[in-house]
Subunit: 319 residues, 2 copies
Amino acid sequence: MASFLELISFIRTEVNRDLTRLPIPEKPAYLYNPIRYVLRGKGKRFRPILVHLAGRANHADPESLMKIALAVELLHNFTLVHDDIMDNDDMRHGQPAIHTKWDDSTAILAGDGINAIAQILLSGLPDRSNAICRFFNQATLEVCEGQALDKEFENDVSITEDQYLEMIGKKTGSLLGACAVLPATLIGCHQDDIDHFDQFGRALGNGFQIHDDLLEIYGNPEDMGKSLGSDIAEGKQTMMVIKARNQFEKEWGEIIADSTAPDLMEKIRSFFTKSGIESETKLMAESYFNSARKSLDKINDLNREELNGFVNLVENRTY
Amino acid sequence: MASFLELISFIRTEVNRDLTRLPIPEKPAYLYNPIRYVLRGKGKRFRPILVHLAGRANHADPESLMKIALAVELLHNFTLVHDDIMDNDDMRHGQPAIHTKWDDSTAILAGDGINAIAQILLSGLPDRSNAICRFFNQATLEVCEGQALDKEFENDVSITEDQYLEMIGKKTGSLLGACAVLPATLIGCHQDDIDHFDQFGRALGNGFQIHDDLLEIYGNPEDMGKSLGSDIAEGKQTMMVIKARNQFEKEWGEIIADSTAPDLMEKIRSFFTKSGIESETKLMAESYFNSARKSLDKINDLNREELNGFVNLVENRTY
C-alpha cells in the first residue's frame, strides 16, 4: 500500500508541475493573472489522478493521458470558479475565490478562459480526438445540468433522495465517469467496456459525494463551527438532511428551528447518529463504492489493482 | 445584386431554422429555458453567413459547414451572454439580456451550456475536427483576451488608437478570422491560403467594428437619445472618441464636461464632423475593407465573388 500511496503522490506532483507549465501568457493581466492564481490552488487532483490510473490500467500513452488529465482538471476548476460566484462561496482550495479576490466579471472571464485552454489541450491529442472531445463536452454539459438542479433545489424542502442522487450524479458522477471513460476511448476500447468504465466512474462519484456529506458532519470536529450548522438550518441540501426531513419531519424541524443555537452542530450530529441516519448514509456510500468495484470486474483484460486501490483510498479518506 | 441578397437571406433563414432545431432538452429548466430564449433572439447572423460563404467559395460540404456555422454563432452568443453581465448591458438582440430577465447565475450557467453545445457540434465533424477544434478554441481564448482588454481600458483616458485596434482585433476580428479559416481548414487548404483567409476575416472584422462605431453616432438619428451621449461622456471608448481625446484634448473635454446636457449627442456628432474625425474614421474603415479584399485576391482557385459581395454588404450596412 505504501508504494500505491507513493504512486498517487507522484502523479499528483506531476499534474501540479504540468499545470504550472501550461503556457499562460502574461497579458492581458485581467484574464491571465486570475487563471494562474487558480492553477496554483491546492486541489486534491482526484480527477486527473483517476485519468492516469484508468489509463495505466489500459496501457495508454502517458503523454496523451496527461493532456486528458490536465483538461479534466481545468474543466473541474472552470466550473468551480463559476459555481463559487453562483453559490456565494468565498473560499476555494485554501485561498479566496476569484470573485472574492477580484470581482464577478473577472471570475466569469477567467472560467471561460480556463475552459478554452482545456479544449485547446484536447484538440492536441493525436488519436480519437473527436470522440474524446465529444464525451468531454457532453460531461461538461451534464455538470452544467447538475449545477442547474442544485440551483433549482435551493431552499426546496420537498427534494427527495432520488432527486438529490440525480443532482450529484450529474454534478460529480458525470465528470468522474469521464475520467474513466476518456482513457478507454483513447485506446479504442469496445463500447461495452466504455459503458462499464462510465458506470464505474459514476458510482465512484456518487460514493465520493455522499462520503463527502458524511465527512462534512463527522470528519473534522474542530473545524465544525456555527457556519455549517446554520448553513444546514438555512436550507443546504445533503443526503443526511433529506433523510432527516423526510423520515423525522417533526424532530428535525425542532432541531433546526433555531439556526443560531450555539450547540446546533452538536445537536445535528448526535441526531443523525441516534436516528440511524449516519449508518444508513454510510451504507449508501459503501454500496456505491461496491458497485464501482463490480463495474471494474466486468471489464476484460484490465489491470484493475490500482483502480481498486483508488476506490479504497476515496472510501477511506478522512479529509 | 438582388440574387446575392436573396442568398444571404436564404442562409440566414436556414441558420435560424437549424438553431431552433438543436436538440435542447426541456429539463433542467434553469439551464435550458434561458438557452432556448437566446437562440430565438434576433441576431444578424453575420458570422454563420460568413462561414457559409467562405465554405461555398471553397466548395466545402454544406452539412459540415452548417455545423461550423452553428458552432460559431453559439460561441458568439455565449460570449455575448457573459459580456452583458460584465458590461451591465440590459438588452440584447431586441430582448432583455438573460441576466436582466433572470439573474447573473442563470446567465453564467446558460453561457457555459451554450459553449458546451457548440463544442459538441464541432466534435461531430467527420474530417479534420482536431484542427478545427483547435482553431475554434484559440479564437475563443482570443475573444476572452479582447474582453479582458476592454475591461482594462474602461475609464482609461490614455488608451491609444493602436490599443483600441488590438482590443477590437481580438474581440471581433479573431472570430471573423475563424469564420473564414474554419471552412478552409475543413477542406484542407494550404497554410498560406489559411493565413490569407485569417487576414481577410480579421480585416473585415476591424472594418466592421469601426463602421459600427460610426453607425452608432450617425446611423439612426431618431434612436440617438441621451443614453449614448452620456455613455460617451462617462468613458465609453470608440475609435472616434479616442481620436477626439488625443487630437483635440481641450475642445473635447469641454464638450463632454456636462454629461447631462440635452443637446450633448448633437454637439458630439457635429464636433466629429467639423474636426474631420468622421471622415478620418470612414477612411480607416474603408482601408480595412480594402485590405480584406486584397487578402482574398491572394488566394488561388477561389470563387471570391460572394465573399467580395459580403464585404460590400458589411461596408454599406446602415443598421
